[in-house]
């Protein structure tokens, strides 16, 4: 399982715009590099990131090889209700990682 770093405020006021920052460890091998023997290194990237808030999708991003290694993605959402944010990364070679964060909305 890839290491992830998620930054979501623990508590927020209802209606407040909160910042969400995510980072996941991944090579993001572009498929355009060659090893020491001149053999092409096959592409291995995370191609999709989805964030759901209490089961409802709030953000989705398609990533391309131009995204730097260890993809960092930051976005915002409105704190609507207490609950769970789920983050899911999927990619080449069956890569899949899921992480959760809970938020209390007052």
């Amino acid at each position: 399982m890839a290491r992830t770093l998620i930054n979501v405020p623990k508590t927020a006021k209802k209606g407040e715009i909160i910042a969400i920052k995510t980072l996941i460890s991944h090579e993001m091998e572009t498929g355009y590099r060659h090893d020491n023997l001149g053999k092409a290194i096959p592409r291995d990237i995370i191609s999709l990131f989805v964030c759901t808030y209490n089961g409802q999708e709030i953000f989705r991003a398609e990533l391309h090889p131009a995204i730097a290694a260890n993809p960092f993605i930051a976005f915002n959402t409105v704190a609507t209700a207490s609950g769970t944010l789920e983050f899911k990364w999927t990619g080449d070679n069956g890569f899949s990682a899921t992480e959760q964060a809970t938020i209390t909305v007052e």
Binding site: I17, Y53, A61, E62, L63, P65, A68, F75, N76, T77
Partner: protein, 155 residues
């Protein structure tokens, strides 16, 4: 103001760029301004692409193209009737013209996205935002890169 340092940095990056191009393997296809335009066309379709509303922030001078922070922010009230539907980022000279395509909605609160990208060469980077009324807005930044990404051999 152009200082002596700016000139030297510019010259160094040009020299580095020229050096890298000469060792490029023939198989490495490169995106061109034309292929970036084609990728943008695919997203925008026949709708007009206007300048404004979008702010793309990238450092103008990048030392290491392997990881470059970028931020796209779009002016929008983010209401159900008037919000940012998608943010796309494109580049001119990486092997592929696409960088990221994000879908968001009124629940985002702000039409804003940050990530880190690779830059294979000094080039133009462009951000395109799609609003809920079907209009497309863009911003572009010219970046100078001194150490390029994508081409180095793994250690």
């Amino acid at each position: 103001m152009t200082t002596r340092r700016d000139v030297l940095i510019g010259a160094a990056s040009l020299a580095a760029g020229a050096g890298l191009v000469s060792v490029l393997p023939v198989t490495a296809a490169h995106a061109t301004p034309a292929s970036m335009d084609a990728a943008i066309k695919k997203v925008v379709g026949s709708a007009p692409l206007r300048k404004g509303k979008v702010t793309l922030s990238l450092p103008p001078l990048v030392e290491n193209g392997n990881t470059v922070s970028l931020e796209v922010s779009v002016e929008s009230p983010m209401t159900p009737d008037n919000h940012v539907k998608a943010i796309h980022v494109f580049n001119e000279k990486n092997p592929l013209p696409n960088v990221i395509s994000a879908r968001l909605g009124p629940r985002a609160g702000l039409g804003k996205l940050s990530t880190r990208m690779r830059l294979a060469d000094s080039q133009r980077v462009m951000a395109v935002a799609e609003l809920s009324d079907g209009s497309f807005w863009s911003d572009e930044v010219d970046v100078i890169v001194t150490i390029a990404a994508c081409l180095e051999d793994p250690g």
